[in-house]
Symmetry: C2
Subunit: 401 residues, 2 copies
Amino acid sequence: MLNTIAAKDERLVIGLMSGTSADGIDAALVGIQGQGADSSFSLMASDTLRFSPGVRARILQCQGARAGDAGEITLLHAYLGELFAHAALHICKKGGVNPLSVDLIGSHGQTLYHMPTSVPMPGFSVRGTLQVGNPAIIAERTGITVVSDFRSRDMAAGGQGAPLVAYLDYALYRHHARSRIALNIGGIANVTAIPADAKLSQVTAFDTGPGNSLMDAAVSHFTQGAQGLDRNGTMAASGAANPALLARLLEHPFLKKAPPKSAEKGEFGPAFLKAVLQDFPSLQPADVLATLAAFTVQTITTAILEHCLQDIRYEEIIVSGGGAENPVLMAGLRKALPKLAVTTADDYSIPNKAKEAVLMAFLANETARGSAGNVPSATGARRPVVLGSITPGIQAWDHEL
Amino acid sequence: MLNTIAAKDERLVIGLMSGTSADGIDAALVGIQGQGADSSFSLMASDTLRFSPGVRARILQCQGARAGDAGEITLLHAYLGELFAHAALHICKKGGVNPLSVDLIGSHGQTLYHMPTSVPMPGFSVRGTLQVGNPAIIAERTGITVVSDFRSRDMAAGGQGAPLVAYLDYALYRHHARSRIALNIGGIANVTAIPADAKLSQVTAFDTGPGNSLMDAAVSHFTQGAQGLDRNGTMAASGAANPALLARLLEHPFLKKAPPKSAEKGEFGPAFLKAVLQDFPSLQPADVLATLAAFTVQTITTAILEHCLQDIRYEEIIVSGGGAENPVLMAGLRKALPKLAVTTADDYSIPNKAKEAVLMAFLANETARGSAGNVPSATGARRPVVLGSITPGIQAWDHEL
């Protein structure tokens, strides 16, 4: 079955992604020719299906070490399986494609807890991750073979399970003569540094610190949850950065670690923000937002200057994620890195909004071809590994019984 | 990769099972020729690796609707992955086989919660199950391709996800001229009724009620947890059944349901026992055990008389599970069903102690062959489905990078 899929000239693949912020499901339908660095993509449809506030709240209540319980997690595992299946069928309809002609679904799942640091247990120290959104339900509802739970295998091989985007960045942005940095500003910001004419093993990637997480947390805090983000950076643009708050933020211990490093959502979340803001009770919301934007820009640019630009002359930064749509961040990056061209994913073949879902399709395609999807120099894994588990779709012979 | 495995004359398969009682991991190494009803087995090694009391306690603390949390479940998912991998390597060593020559592992996982009844959620009613013991860790440690999480797909297709044993019972025990009932007495007891010369679709299977669960709970109760079972039925044999307690137990609502039906562990667990025993404070432990043994025998025999023997003259009951080693239960069954031969799994090709682990190997073999592993007339599923998710082992080409 997989052999038939793997042997095709072009595979039609659906990618499904839901980030830790649990805003909704990003779905993309993409034709993929080839594999790995030689993949070529034709994006046929993409969309975001937002979770209702009630569903989002139930997901967030199960995120974190002491959150949720076995019953609620079992329920979400099944329910998100249904919602991911729904998103897959929706994107088929939007793309005008019969689900029977789709070869694969790559499904990230919803992370409930990510534990990249070893915990000692009798006989073994363990690290792990918990992704829900049952692939058996997705496969049964759509009939399409599903590849899921990509992070677990990289972690089993000693990696952090993140960032997974490095290989796709390499496939999309590598250049024989230009050294480029792909910068993704999601909740957390991470960079993939791709020297000119680099082999995959020469690519490095790491988290730089906060992306939108602190700004989002601040807006939610100041609006009592009525708003979730500073759209277009309007609020930040109307304020001024506060030097004392900025200095305090820059003391965060994550910023002193050497790469490869990955940040956990909680490190730059509402609890951290609340603790810091207690010492700045009279600051206006706009000034807080301006400071957080400056902090985000500074942690990104410092990381690039210290860890990327020492040896190699990078010429371009390609920004993706929600941060690419924030003019305050983009202007800050251009000002801090005047010698680099600052572009966005939209300047390349895969539009910004579809990139994470296309990543899941890309990784599923690698697995179907029996090819490794992780980049050890990015995740810290001991070796390249074939990622994910494969849940069979519905085959013709399956109906003969 | 799977095609290579599927095309072999004989596949070397490891089965791994840990039941809801969380006593330990049953492992079996078995050569399987053919598939489905025409499978033939050569058992090369089997063993049980018991969990330490501390590990067992952590598992039990995460079982049930309101038990555990995301952090502890993530930890157990990874840790049990390590222990399952360890059990697989142990059984290779015991069987004198290099893991590199093993084709497949079938891993049941550890059930933390099973939710066969629909729960309404926005847009979808959902049912599901939560199995931990990360297959990515098993595959990475052993290098062997893993098939796992068999129950989810049957449930996605409308089934109860149980019993899974029906197809193996059919493969092992069907007879052209004799009608046989396979009776498994684990925590819960279930029967697979196989009429003479039956097609697979004519096999029925259902849970009859308690197996050892109530007796185990009583021993644990009376010994303050020092003992977990009434070995050889010694305590039950020294007491006498109490008619009033027996009548009270027989009021349990599960016994009035029509098959197909599956019992949840909690229905015949410590809480139920404790509630009933409150009304019988002066009963001696031995008499309670004798009554529970009589109750177990009566629920089994009544179910067989009412649901199996109405239309078909069954000639034999083949008993497996822990109950097959309890002389009180076996004598009770022989007395209540005098016209049937009462034998045990040990009288056939797969010994009783290895049967559940061999079942996991059998189901993995079906999936690798692209063949359905469930029996819809047993689980209630809409159709036969290929069970489980496939996590690739380590291939030669994987090392070429």
